[in-house]
């Protein structure tokens, strides 16, 4: 082979390598794009709900309210009859069969919605008001265009008469798409149109905060001690190896630990963010210690020596110079560790955080769910309404993860000091 041929061959090898790299990147981006597209196309519908406009007259007699009702009276009243009467006005002719069918177009909580409206606006007693009531899941899907109208009637949830009423209401412009606040404020429900991520969002929030409170200070202090103060000997080596091993332990093992010790032995309440937070903190600790130590190690020894040489004590050189300089790496490591904890499902399943939780937890010791567990729960339901909510929950979870990672990168870049 001549020298020229050799050079040509080298260039060809480089070109080939670049091509392989480009193809890999395109493939990777395609997969990511596919994932994002499917999640978005399935999930975006969950952020809107369908409402039916109903004219309600808050008749104090039907509600059997006293003449000057207190807020408590308003809260305790029975709204079912009023609600039925109000929606029946949508029909032009009164017909008991139609009334039954009509009721099915609304979410089962439609009387509660009317009540809540009045509780918020107590002046409306003995007045009339148009209220947008949440429709049932079937109507919601029908209006969103996801409902197969043309299959035989006996295989449909919505019969021909109901379709007729629906079309009539659409023609009257009574059916509208509204922002689905229930998705964010409600807990779980058997009815897709009422189910929300409120309980799991708060559950995740409490868990991650507890995880942060427990793991961050412990991890920071442990890594400072190990990196700066611990004598370099066999014991330190042993601890270091074990921290690395713990970071690689499958998360479900931590779930077992939480189940056995926190729930079984210490009798902490099941399905609570407190237990989840402690379990996640155990799991996150080694995952934070490792980047913390790495960023402490990355501070050049010359900085320590510079501080010592002007008479700083070891403690001062560490806390005045090394720790502040390592902070960007430390913080971003912590945030990434927390993001992992936020997305963790397996250990939560073991400690019962996959429960069906209707009530929004008020504190970390109330039963709650968590975002990834909610995804897991809803993904088992067949209703179209839950399918879109599953994807929407994934969207919310991903948004949090992306924001957290972005903050981590930002912190690292913004505060990283350059030294020569």
């Amino acid at each position: 082979m001549t020298k020229d041929q050799r050079i040509k061959k080298r260039h060809r090898a480089e070109a080939r390598f670049k091509l392989y790299g480009l193809v890999s990147i395109i493939l990777a981006l395609t997969f990511v794009g596919f994932l994002v597209f499917t999640i978005f196309s399935k999930g975006s519908d969950a952020f809107s709900k369908t409402t039916i406009k109903v004219n309600v007259s808050f008749n104090a007699e039907i509600l059997s309210l006293p003449s000057n009702p207190s807020l408590e009276d308003i809260q305790d009243a029975d709204y079912y009859d009023l609600a039925l009467e109000s929606i029946n006005k949508l029909l032009l002719t009164s017909n008991p069969d139609d009334e039954k069918l009509l009721k099915k177009l609304f979410s089962p909580d439609f009387d509660l919605e009317i009540k809540n409206y009045l509780v918020k606006n107590p002046d409306l007693i003995n007045q009339t008001q148009d209220i947008n009531l949440t429709s049932s899941d079937d109507i919601d899907q029908l209006f969103k265009g996801n409902f197969p109208r043309d299959i035989p009637e006996d295989r449909r949830q919505v019969n021909d008469r109901q379709l007729e009423i629906f079309d009539e209401l659409v023609a009257q412009d009574k059916i509208q798409k509204k922002f689905n606040n229930y998705f964010f404020t409600n807990g779980d429900s058997r009815d897709p149109e009422l189910a929300g991520i409120g309980a799991s969002l708060l559950g995740s929030f409490f868990s991650v905060v507890i995880c942060l409170i427990l793991s961050f200070p412990i991890a920071i202090l442990a890594s400072i001690y190990l990196e700066e103060f611990a004598p370099k000997n066999k014991i330190t080596d042993f601890i270091e190896i074990n921290i690395n091993n713990l970071a690689a332990v499958p998360s479900i093992v931590y779930g077992l630990l939480g189940l056995g010790i926190l729930l079984g032995f210490m009798n902490f309440p099941r399905s609570t963010p407190l237990v989840a937070g402690i379990t996640l903190a155990l799991m996150t600790l080694p995952r934070i210690i490792i980047p913390c130590r790495a960023s402490l190690k990355a501070v050049p020894p010359s900085i320590r020596e510079g501080a010592l040489a002007v008479g700083a004590s070891k403690f001062q050189s560490v806390f005045h110079h090394v720790v502040p300089l390592s902070l960007p790496g430390t913080l971003s490591g912590t945030i990434i560790g927390l993001a992992q904890a936020l997305g963790e499902t397996a250990p939560l399943i073991l400690i019962g955080m996959v429960a069906f939780v209707v009530d929004i937890p008020g504190s970390p010791i109330d039963p709650a769910s968590s975002l990834p567990a909610q995804v897991y729960l809803w993904s088992e339901s067949a209703e179209r309404g839950f399918v879109e909510k599953t994807s929407a929950t994934i969207m919310i979870l991903l948004t949090f993860l992306i924001v957290m990672n972005f903050i981590a990168v930002y912190l690292r870049q913004k505060f990283e000091k350059k030294w020569n």
């Binding site: 004598p231 370099k232 050049p300 010359s302 900085i303 320590r304 020596e305 510079g306 501080a307 010592l308 040489a309 002007v310 008479g311 700083a312 004590s313 070891k314 001062q316 005045h320 110079h321 300089l325 000091k417 350059k418 030294w419 020569n420």
Partner: protein
């Protein structure tokens, strides 16, 4: 030249890094307000020696020291000596400039702050100006005291480190090859500076440049393989060394 007071005195000083012995039986007397140059081939223990004087070797776990080092007649390795006080008294300038990644002002303010040398901001400002003036850096940085110290040129950074060392008002300044990363002009500035600082401080400087040793020092010590081969006035050492090895080294025949 009249003999000055003895400032630093080592007796039978031996240093080990683990099993490896880095210094063998070093006996040396360094006089007050003189510049002492330490020369010798790479790895002969010059840095090890000066790091003993402010106990910088304490941070190296495997480093063990035998023999005695006295400053003003007191053994610095004695239990009663606080290493923080010792380092306040014995400043150090490193081979590579190592300013803190903070402002020029904060770089110099750090030492006085932790030792509580100044009582208020005015005093601190004065001290910083004085330190920078002594380090011949004031004119170049007086308008940008709040810019990062790391944004200065290499030579300016080294003078900043000298100013930082001066700021805590030490009696001794140790310099480990302070000019090895600098160009001839910056080197000349620092040498000039050393000459001025000699009025106030006792200075020990490690250098690989014979010319520099001749220019700045009054005494010179020659190390070889961890042993102090020869020590005496710079003049005699370079004109008429008593040891053959010294002769070979300064004439460039080995090392």
């Amino acid at each position: 030249m009249k003999e000055r007071k003895i400032k630093i005195k080592t007796e039978n000083l031996e240093v080990y890094y683990g099993e490896k012995q880095a210094l063998f039986d070093v006996n040396l007397e360094i006089h007050e307000k003189e510049v002492t140059a330490l020369i010798g081939p790479s790895g002969c223990g010059k840095s090890t020696f000066i790091r003993c004087i402010n106990r910088m070797n304490d941070v190296i776990d495997i480093c063990k020291i035998k023999g005695s080092i006295e400053i003003d007649g007191k053994n610095i390795n004695h239990k009663s000596i606080d290493v923080v006080r010792l380092r306040e008294k014995v400043g150090m300038v490193f081979q590579k400039p190592n300013p803190f990644p903070k402002s020029i002002y904060d770089n110099i303010a750090y030492g006085p702050k932790i030792h509580g040398i100044t009582k208020n901001k005015g005093e601190l400002d004065n001290l910083i100006e004085n330190s920078l003036r002594k380090a011949a850096l004031w004119n170049e940085v007086k308008d940008r005291l709040h810019e990062p110290g790391t944004s200065l040129s290499g030579g300016q950074q080294q003078r900043l480190c000298i100013a930082r060392a001066i700021s805590v008002n030490p009696e001794i300044i140790l310099m480990d090859e302070p000019c090895s990363a600098l160009d001839p002009i910056a080197t000349a500035k620092i040498e000039e500076l050393i000459d001025e600082l000699r009025e106030t401080y006792t200075i020990i400087i490690v250098t690989h440049s014979m010319a520099q040793a001749v220019r700045v020092s009054q005494k010179t010590g020659f190390f070889h393989l961890g042993k102090l081969i020869e020590f005496g006035t710079t003049e005699k050492m370079f004109k008429n060394p008593s040891n053959n090895m010294t002769q070979d080294y300064i004439t460039g025949r080995f090392g």
